[in-house]
Symmetry: C3
């Protein structure tokens, strides 16, 4: 993909506060991996292990860390954090799309909604009573905002996001298509062989600079609110149940499910396909390996795991048979101990 | 959250058939947990373990079970099922929203659809030929109902639900945003290195008083129908494959997947993140622990589990290494048995 | 379900290239399982194990494999691949719906979009600038196509599919409701305790004859493209992360998540609820059992598994306790070995 205009290496270095070595006027129109980048593109080395690829790259410039500053003769940008530098340069080359302010005539807007003049409301949108939409916010085609929803400035809703009544989205947060915020939590009381629905009267409060992936769901609180703090990043297809709190800057990978009332600390990294039971407290700085299950609160930062990598089917079946036979092996082991004890005593 | 009007404790007790102790005219405008409730709010004690919190609550009234009837000096409601009583009182305080009857002018309705006068059809809705919508049903913004869909009375579709042709939703059922009912089941026949699509000609039949969480999917049957019986509660992000039958009042937590043609009995409780392979029969009254896998039919009620809770990463890696070495430990154990046998015989 | 017209057995045999035995003029209006089919319907035997059911069927005709060609006195179609023959006959009896060409007046179409005259654009659709839609393609109600999206001829989008800018869908592919193609991949760089978003500038390229189930998501590439090759079949609620490549004719069952940059070969069969970590290479012809985790590249075709079937809860808890005690049992075993060694030496 080619940027709409070229930038000098000097311009790009300013985007990330990096230092330029070599020709600062080198013009860049694109970005690529070490292997795929071509002339006119900038590439990046974030791991010295790939220095070999660096020598073969066809890119016109490269982003490097301090320890690799002389690893290439190409015009280059040296940064303490080359990966973040790449991210900021890519943002400069490929700025987020800028929506045209205004309300599409097909949108259905309640008269009491307050929409900032610089906001953009797309086609087929429905906006309920008392909604407040901040400056520069974008509501993509087909989104539905319930009564009293608040979008901070610069919020970006991709097409077909639904936000139920009363929920709040912080400034600059990005919600991808199919996201559902504020649906009822899964709350019901057993009664005479059936279930009585418990009204879910809490809200969902989402902080600033949050990003939520496609088809992820965050349920509203039963009584109190479900809270996603600032800077949290949620991947696709995640389920966050009612009354959860996700601490600032925590990231959660796809297909993970967090049960009700669990609180996850700040700066955690939760893998994909993880499950957490309800009512847990996970402290700051916890990493959970993908495909693991958390059933108890965690009070110490660190990495927690219960996932099992696959093996060839027959090997795994043998392992599994032995696993299930463990109680009987343990019994045998104990019998042997006694036998040996006797033999020793003889 | 405050109710739109206050209710006397006497009014609320009637909602759940409870007995009032203390001042029956106490006015209540909200509901809260033992810790969070304040003046003008009612709280509830559903587990005697939390009696300590009861003594500190700032609530104006409390819901209790018979064994705790005198555990508080506050005005109170005593109920045989205090949790269900709380649910019913919350419903009284916070009644489900009542949609205004009528069809929004932006909705696209086939001429042959029959819509009850008291039903409410929101903006941007598309309704196909021959659809029948019962009294008091609500079709939220952006929903799409295929040809011949039937909604019973009082059905509530939140925004952006899709129901494919021919499916039926029973009275008072609630479908949350992003739900897709009646998409094609995953059926195809292998042929010459590729796949031939098998038309999915069954429907989805959903009983009365079912609730289905956000972004859950229920596929139509291949030949016969997929059936969700009355009172079933499905959480978010669940996948029910073609030809399944879920028995009445069974509840399934989020992120669970049920493979094709599996039949689950009545009053089962299936945890979150569970998997079930296809063509199983699960009897009534089965509980499956979260994150477990069911591969065989179950004929006895009870709890079934295969999930593994996480440990610190290094501990788990050691366990895993031992697990994989099991065949070799078992071999050693057998060798030791023989050695000891020989020693004994000497 | 009854077909809109009757077909002779001869007509149906032509649909799959099968041989007719018995009365070729037998009229068929429907299809059913061996147990459920009635008069006027055709059934099928794809596994000789069910011959008993064949003898009891009330169907008017049956599809059989060569080894069962004389297993029934009914009028019948003999095919080398009776299951694929059933699929093709079902397609003949129940042809895929045929949309009426034209653009619904409520659709919002950018002036620069090019829509083939025979395509069908439903109500409430939004189509961006530069979109190209092929002959006979169907865009269901509420779909949103971003700028520059391309749909091949005969593509079928069910209601409420979203395709982000620049993505391409190959001819005859079917995308079910709630599918999101081309949302941003989960890419961000850690920086000063927070995260910097990495622009996702790749696309999603989907080949011909692909089918994608309800609420499945496929993210756009970070730099290069995410690719789904021809003939791939994805079930519901699947997550395919950025930069993945799924090889031709591979099938993936529901609720599976594939992490970024993983490449799966051709003709693989991936079960439901599977997880794959990122940056793997899975060769052609691999089968992964449901609920298994793949953490390493696979270079040999075959079946790979790590799933654990449930047991009664108490049994499993005992097994789990033994599993966790393994390091201590292994220690004991080693001590016994030494003891025996000593005893032997005495």
């Amino acid at each position: 993909m080619e940027a709409t205009r070229a930038y000098s290496l000097k311009d790009l270095a300013e985007a990330c506060g990096g230092e330029v070595l070599g020709d600062a006027q080198t013009l860049i129109r694109g970005i690529g991996t070490l292997e795929q980048a071509g002339p006119g593109e900038i590439t990046f080395l974030t791991n010295s292990l790939y220095r070999d690829l660096l020598h073969k790259t066809r890119a016109s410039a490269v982003i490097l860390g301090p320890s690799d500053r002389n690893a290439s003769p190409l015009p280059r940008i040296v940064s303490d954090n080359p990966y973040a530098c790449y991210a900021r340069i890519a943002q400069r080359l490929f700025p987020f799309p800028h929506a045209v302010p205004g309300v599409h005539p097909s949108a259905v807007i309640a008269p009491t909604a307050r929409i900032a003049p610089s906001a953009s409301i797309g086609p087929q949108v429905t906006i309920g009573a008392g909604v407040v939409i901040g400056e520069g916010a974008v509501v993509g085609p087909g989104c539905v905002l319930g009564e009293g929803v608040t979008l901070g400035e610069g919020v970006w809703l991709y097409p077909r996001v639904v936000i139920y009544a009363g929920c709040e989205i912080g400034a600059r947060s990005i919600l991808h298509s199919g996201v559902v915020i504020g649906a009822d939590g899964f709350g019901m009381a057993p009664d005479r062989g059936g279930w009585v629905k418990i009204p879910q009267i809490g809200r969902v409060l989402i902080g600033a600079d949050v990003e939520i992936g496609a088809n992820t769901t965050v349920d509203r609180g039963a009584i109190e609110d479900t809270v996603i703090e600032e800077g949290v990043k949620l991947d696709n297809q995640i389920q966050i149940a009612h009354n959860c709190r996700i601490g600032a800057h925590t990231v959660i990978a796809g297909c993970t499910g967090i049960s009700g009332s669990t609180r996850i600390g700040r700066n955690c990294r939760i893998g994909g396909g993880v499950g957490m039971v309800g009512h847990l407290e996970i402290c700051d700085g916890v990493t959970v390996s993908g495909f693991s299950l958390i059933t108890k609160s965690i009070t110490q930062p660190g990495v927690y795991t219960s996932s099992i990598p696959s093996q060839p089917h027959r090997t795994w079946m043998e392992t599994l048979a032995n696993l299930r036979a463990l109680p009987q092996w343990v019994k045998k082991l104990k019998a042997l101990e006694q036998d040996i004890q006797k033999l020793k005593e003889e």
